[in-house]
């Protein structure tokens, strides 16, 4: 009896907290958006929740638009666009894709990377998170490394069991190389090979080929 009461109370408290958090977020939207935009955004949020798409990033996109002074229709358009890309990323990455994976996958789709590439990386990562790899891939693509070259590299890194820290280091070092004037593709190949070869202990600083 007592245990049941405790469980019930605990569950009620959790529900109350979740409701409060969601209510707070909704309140922020209501404060920032006009009624028409708010209704449209809320409809998208409901649709996303029903489809298993994380609503948080969509809500944040609406807040971002409000913060940047975008018009209501532009905000709705941006939220809807993100929702569609997240939905496509979720399908490619599998039903268990986390919100961060959905967001990272949506960014890659926006860069022109196709869903086949996302599925390839999901397979290479097996049961591990692909967020860091997707962000690393986005970093390469955005710096002009073609997807045809960067996707296989990231896949090999995943197959070599590169960790989140490895991808963070990889991104940092490639960025340094690019700022030093080296071509992004060569820098990515060299740094990626080092991680694949040496794993987490990235000791060598191979000079990428020109």
């Amino acid at each position: 009896m007592l245990k049941t009461m405790i469980r019930s109370t605990f569950g009620a408290l959790l529900a109350l907290l979740a409701t409060a958090a969601g209510t707070a977020a909704q309140d922020r939207l209501a404060e920032r958006l006009d009624s028409t935009t708010l209704r449209a955004v809320e409809a998208l949020l409901d649709r996303a929740t029903a489809d298993g798409i994380a609503a948080g990033p969509l809500r944040n996109k609406a807040l971002e638009g409000a913060g940047k002074g975008a018009a209501g229709p532009a905000i709705v358009h941006a939220v809807e666009g993100l929702y569609l890309r997240m939905d496509a990323a979720k399908r490619a990455l599998g039903g268990k894709a986390t919100p961060d994976e959905q967001v990272a996958g949506a960014a890659l789709l926006d860069f022109g990377v196709d869903t086949v590439a996302l599925a390839t990386l999901r397979e290479a990562a097996a049961d591990r998170s692909t967020t860091s790899a997707l962000v690393g891939l986005a970093f390469l693509v955005q710096r002009g490394v073609p997807a045809s070259r960067s996707v296989p590299l990231v896949r090999r890194m995943l197959e070599a069991r590169a960790t989140e820290a490895d991808f963070a280091t990889f991104q940092k070092l490639v960025d340094e190389d690019v700022r030093a004037g080296l071509p992004a593709a060569g820098a990515a190949d060299a740094r990626g090979r080092a991680i694949i070869r040496h794993g987490a202990s990235l000791r060598s600083r191979e000079q990428p080929e020109a």
């Binding site: 922020r28 990033p57 944040n60 996109k61 807040l63 971002e64 638009g65 409000a66 913060g67 940047k68 975008a70 532009a74 905000i75 358009h77 941006a78 939220v79 666009g81 993100l82 919100p99 961060d100 967001v103 990272a104 960014a107 926006d110 860069f111 967020t131 860091s132 962000v135 986005a138 970093f139 693509v141 955005q142 989140e164 820290a165 963070a168 991104q171 940092k172 960025d175 700022r179």
Partner: protein, 394 residues
Amino acid sequence: MNHSTSHGARTERGRMRAPYSRTARRAMLAASLGLYAGPAALAAQFAQPERPTLRDPLAAFLRDARLEMVPTFGMAAGNTEFALSGILSLQSDLRRDTRWTARMAALAVRSPAHTFAGAEIALAGAHRHGPLQSRLEAAVHAGTGSGASPAFSITAASGAGNVTLQFRSTWLQAAPTRNANHPAAPGGADVADPLNEDPFQSRYDEAELTALHRFGRFEASGNAGLRFGEAGESSPPWAALQLAAPVRGNLDVYVAGGSRPERPEIGQRAGSFVMLGLRLRPARSASLGGIAAPAPLPPPEPFATYRLREDAWVLAIHAPDARLVEIASDFTDWESVPLEAAPGEHGIWRETFVIRPGLHHVAIRIDGGEWRAPPGLPAVSDGFGGEVGLLELR
């Protein structure tokens, strides 16, 4: 570090009469160390960028130990003087914008007039709040040699940038000497030694304004102050200037001159002085009893993040030509937040945020321009004609 002696200590022709009593010694020590309580030290409190703190408070406190050796040689009121001081300071950034410092100093002074050796232990807390910096310090002074006597002082300082105003109260165990140059003192150089004959309150209060300016490799500092109450009657206002320049490595040279206040606890008499000194920093952290050395600071990155605590991250942007740097992100509810210019670090702007681990969209704006992705991050379209950066924090 300046130490002065004065002909005023010669109370009888050809013979020194308690030239530097215990109070005189203390005054010298406090004056010497007071230089480190000036703007340079206060600004230096926050010259170091914030680093990740350690969970162990003691380890955090010992993380950054510094040793300085300061020999000086000069002239003051016609007397030559050589002094050597060593200062060991330990500091800790246990909280953002708050720094605790423990300082232990030793001082040795030799001149034709006297020989003195003293020590000081001080504990100070400094806090930065916006553009203002404040510090509270308590110090205990002691010494050997003629006239040495314990003293206790409390200093409260506040400043902005490189200008600092400080107030100090010093309690002396022994009665201070009276300035033999005091106009009320009869006979000038022939006046009887006032120590123990004309004792006044065993405490003095003073205010001092200090300023620091760096130009190129040089550093110029100045200080001016005055005493309050009865102590103020025996010590005229003072002003001094110091110019320092690096020589090589850990060696700086400086020259100082001006007028000095009377500091009874180390026997410094009011008067003019000129000093030449060296500042050596032979050791830091790693060579001090095995205390772990902090990692050397890397050159400024365009955009850097590092964890301050469990869920607190410092975001730093290098924008040397900016007047205003703002950041907006999902962790700010997309409200623009201005970053603070890091004191003592030209071009670094930073702020601390509570951020959950994971993936975030971040944008920065410089001088009210367009929102864009921070350098070094993958930049994705924001859907509003601009871009945002993808930042992953683990």
